[in-house]
Structure formats: structure tokens, C-alpha cells
Amino acid sequence: MNTPRDSGCTLTGALSVTTEIDGSVTIVHGPGGCAHHNFSLFHTLCIGRDDPRLPRLLSTDLAEKDIIFGGEDALDAAIRKAIEKNPSIVCVLSTCVTGAIGDDVDAICRGFHGIPVISIPTAGFLGGGFRDGHIQALISLSSLAECGEKTLSVNLVGEKTLEFERDEHFNEVKRLLFGIGIPICTRFICRSSMEDISRLSRGSCNILRDSSMCEVGNYLKGKFGTPFIGSFPVGPGGTIRFLEELGAVFSLDVSGAVAAEEARQERMFEEFHALKGKKVQFRDSLGNMTDSEVCSEIAESVGMDVHPAGQPLTVPDPFPVGTEGVRRLLRQWRRACRA
């Protein structure tokens, strides 16, 4: 079975967003199992991150009877129950079976006022996967943004909250932005509060996590007129280009920051002089040979020799972000080469 990273349950993709909102409760409108296996997954992840919180999930726990007569009453009751917990927002996710029988989740959600109740269509059988759930959640939640003047700042859009190195990626982008004096307006959505989300329209540029978030970038561009940069920076050259791109968007002179970053990269490559002259080859996480451009670039900078009989080195997916990402990668490779 071919299981690319972005496939999988649409619900999980949406939950990777909704569970990141401070004080949110997410209702999974479907059979108990849909919520349960996701709860387990997120709970395990929280434990792994030393986060003692339990994911705030509620299931409408539908049975055959609800499918025959419609699950809308059960959803209405679940939303009321969720509101009793005084959440900042209630996110309602549909599932395959409620999609199949045509429960009007949007209409039920619209019937509530006061606390925002947001419907996110996530019936996976319609052809989506994890990525589609992620995208759908961001698009649905962008309705919470309040109109306001743009400020000299950027938003980070579509961070992959389940990524192992999520915080490292974020910190690297933050460092690069700090270097050119541009603050982050909001993270849409990763460890966000409702107030953070409401500021979404005020950022002057959206930086997408990677190209899979292009649909969200385009949507936000249409909705708020915010231009976007297509990805967090990858590789040494990519990091420099990222700074230059930001400079162009904000009409800033970034030559100082670029020079400083280049110097930082130079020092980093010297740090790994032990890899110089090593024969290596690159493999993806499934063990297949890959001729990644970024890897060739790094190999050249360090002075490694890419060779079919070389030491196999794993190219992680996702690729670590920025200069510091390259540094972590080189440490791994150095261990692999026992250099």
C-alpha cells in the first residue's frame, strides 16, 4: 500500500488544526470510533511532547438508529454539551457516514450564536485525505478573522502541527524574520488563541509551510488580498532566496541579513569538515535512491562526493527548515558516516 504523508483520514488533518486552538472543543459527528482513534493518536502525541493536556474531543457517537433517522438531533445535543464546557470555539467535523446520509451540519452550526460554532466538512470518502482536512479546516476557520489594517508583519500558514520538528521549524523561521526585522502577526494555526486567529487579515504576507498549502494561500489572497510565499525555506540557497523574497515583498534592503546568513552557513560547513571527501549517496525515507537538488547542494558545499557506492544517507521528509535545519541534518549524516 502506497501511503504518502498527505493521505489518511481527513478528520485527522482537520483535528491537527482544531486541537491547536486554545480553549477549543472539537465535535466529531459520526460513530464513536472516528473520534476514538483520533483521540488516541493526539493523546499519544501530547504525551510524547510532555504536554499533559487531553485533546478536547467530543463524539456524537452515532449508531444505526441515528443513521436511519438522521444524526442532526444528536449533533444539536452534542453542540449544547460542548458549549456547557465554556469553550472559546466549537469546531464540528463531519465524517463519512454523516456525509453519506446528508446531515446538514452547516445549518445546525448556524443555529448557534454567541460562542462560534464552525462547521468543517471532513467526510473522507469524498476523496480527501489528511491534507484536505488540514486545508479545509484552515479555510473554514479563516472566517473568524476580523477585518483590519495590514501591519508590517507576516503570518505563518499551514504549519504541520503533528510534525516531529514543528518547533524547530518555527524557531528557524522566527530567527530569519527577526534578522530582517519583521514580526510574526499570527500562526494560522499552530498553538493559536482565538485572538491570534482574529488577526489573520492584518498580516501583510502569508508564509506557507510548504507547497501543499498553496490552496490556502490562494484562498487567503482572494479573501484578504494577502500575497504569499510558497514555502518555509529549505536548503542553504533556499534560505538565502527566502530572505530575498521577503525583501522584495516588503521593499526592504536585506543585503545585510543575507550576508550575515551566508557567513553563518560558511561557518556551519566548516564545522562539518570531517565529512569532506566522504563518498555518499542519498536515500529517501523508504530507502529508495533520490537525487535531491538540495542534498547535492549541501554535498558540494561540504565537499562530499556523491557516488553510487557511497555511504547511504537518509533524506528526511519533511526536509528540515532553514540553515539550522541543514545543521541538524549534517549532524545526522556525520553520525551515519562515523566521521
Binding site: E64, D66, I68, F69, G70, G71, I101, G102, D103
Partner: protein, 271 residues
């Protein structure tokens, strides 16, 4: 045990035909059960003196399926015909097809499916798998198509053939097309047209039921024709249908027509 299912376009007279057929079969001394498989729940009404009996799905909704007994869902009507209505959700919500599947499971669990003849009266269009349930293994082996000579009615009958031929191609399936019943709308050459249609799909016209005022009168009196005026010509036609169904040995896998052929056929018989 003989299990038969009546399928056909909505409003074509399936329930009237089914109820009169059940009444006629019961009049011959057979133990008959009629199961209405339509959320409209009015299949057995004429057998029950106009009473809309509680449906299986009503009871599931009120008490859950664990609390249902056979007595709650099986009602004795005219000449001891045992009547069941599947029922279903309110129009526009939920999943009626799943309701039919659940009803069959409950009938099985309660051991309610036994009779000399079980007559399934199924909703007009086989819109999803749930409504093909009566055609599945262990249920109706003989499907009768009820149609008039109107194009739309033939079109629906032809569509149902597609479901029959699909299901009958499964290895353990015993479901076959047993015949076509023409419930006339009094259009010219109707009997010849429907007979020709039946042959073209690889079956035969088992009974022509002419249009007769007495059907309407019987319904206004909340009775089947067989009960209301037993000596009438119409009642004798229903009794004739009952005898033919009992004797019928035709079990065909139908070959549905394509739409152009069907239209051409209807055109040939138009006045």
C-alpha cells in the same frame, strides 16, 4: 415458502396490486405475509381496513430495536394476511435504505419471516442498496415488475431490470425476474405494448389488469377489491393473478433495453 417482490414506478399501483394479490392468495387458504418496504408505509392499509399500522422503524425510533417483539410489528389483516410495514425516517433526513436493511435484520432476528407466501411491496425506484434488500439471498426469489404502458413507467421497470440482472449475476443469488404485471392506465394497445416489452427484456406478461372504477371505490371503503366486491370482474382478475403466480415457473435473468430501444418500442405502439 414462496417469496415474491413487486417493484415498479411510484404511483403505478404496486400496493393496490400487492394487497389484492395477498388477499386473493389468502382467500385460497394460504398463509400470507405482506411486507411494505416503503417509508410511505401505506402498502398494507387496504388489508387493515384503512388502518396505518405501527412501522418497524417507528418502534425502533421510540424504544430502540432491542425492545421489539413480533407482536409489535406483525398485524393480522383481511383473511389472516399478516402485515408488516418497514416505515422509515421523516422525508428529507437520514437514510431510508438503511431503514429497510435494519427492518429485515429485525424480522430475521424475531423469526417473523415465515408464511406460505411472503409478498414484498417495494418503493418505486431502487434508489440504493437498501431497496434492493428484498432481492438479496434468502429473500424474494421471484420479482414481478408492475408497469403501465406509459413510457416513464416502462423506463422505471427497465431500470429495475438492471438491478435484477446485477444481483442475479452473483454466484449464490437465486433472485430472478418472474414476470411483468400490466396495471393498465387505459392507453391504446397497452396490453400488446407491455407484452412486447416483457418479451424484449426476456420475460413475459403474466397478467393484464384493466383499469376499473371498482378499485377506487374499494379504496374509498378502505378495502381491497377482493374483499369489497368478491364477485366483480376485477376481483376475479386478481384471483387469476394469484393462481398464475402460484403456478408460475418462469425465472429469468432479464436483459434491460437501452433507452433508444425502449423509446422506439413505445413509439411503435403509440396511436
Amino acid at each position: 415458502m414462496k417469496q415474491i417482490a413487486l417493484y415498479g414506478k411510484g404511483g403505478i399501483g404496486k400496493s393496490t396490486t400487492a394487497a389484492n394479490l395477498s388477499a386473493a392468495l389468502a382467500s385460497q387458504g394460504l398463509n400470507v405475509m405482506q411486507i411494505g418496504c416503503d417509508p410511505k408505509r401505506d402498502s398494507t392499509r387496504m388489508l387493515m381496513q384503512g388502518r396505518l399500522i405501527p412501522t418497524v422503524m417507528d418502534l425502533v425510533r421510540e424504544r430502540g430495536d432491542a425492545e421489539i417483539s413480533r407482536e409489535d410489528i406483525v398485524y393480522n389483516g383481511f383473511m389472516g394476511v399478516r402485515c408488516v410495514e418497514a416505515g422509515g425516517p421523516e422525508p428529507g433526513v437520514g437514510c431510508a435504505g438503511r431503514g429497510i436493511i435494519a427492518t429485515f435484520q429485525i424480522l430475521e432476528r424475531l423469526g417473523a419471516l415465515h408464511a406460505d407466501v411472503v409478498v414484498y411491496d417495494v418503493l418505486g425506484d431502487v434508489v440504493c442498496g437498501g431497496f434492493a434488500m428484498p432481492m438479496r439471498e434468502g429473500y424474494a426469489e421471484e420479482v414481478y415488475l408492475v408497469t403501465s404502458g406509459e413510457l416513464m413507467s416502462l423506463y422505471a421497470a427497465n431500470n429495475i431490470c438492471k438491478a435484477i440482472s446485477r444481483l442475479s449475476s452473483r454466484s449464490r443469488s437465486t433472485c430472478r425476474l418472474a414476470g411483468v404485471i400490466c396495471n393498465a392506465k387505459n392507453i391504446p394497445h397497452e396490453e400488446e405494448l407491455v407484452a412486447e416489452f416483457a418479451e424484449r427484456i426476456g420475460s413475459f406478461l403474466i397478467q393484464y389488469i384493466p383499469r376499473d372504477q371498482v378499485v377506487q371505490q374499494a379504496e374509498l371503503n378502505k378495502k381491497t377489491v377482493v374483499e369489497f366486491v368478491p364477485p366483480s370482474r376485477q376481483a376475479s382478475i386478481y384471483r387469476e393473478l394469484a393462481s398464475r403466480v402460484l403456478e408460475n415457473r418462469r425465472m429469468d435473468i432479464p436483459a434491460p433495453l437501452d433507452i433508444e430501444d425502449l423509446e422506439r418500442l413505445a413509439y411503435e405502439y403509440s396511436p
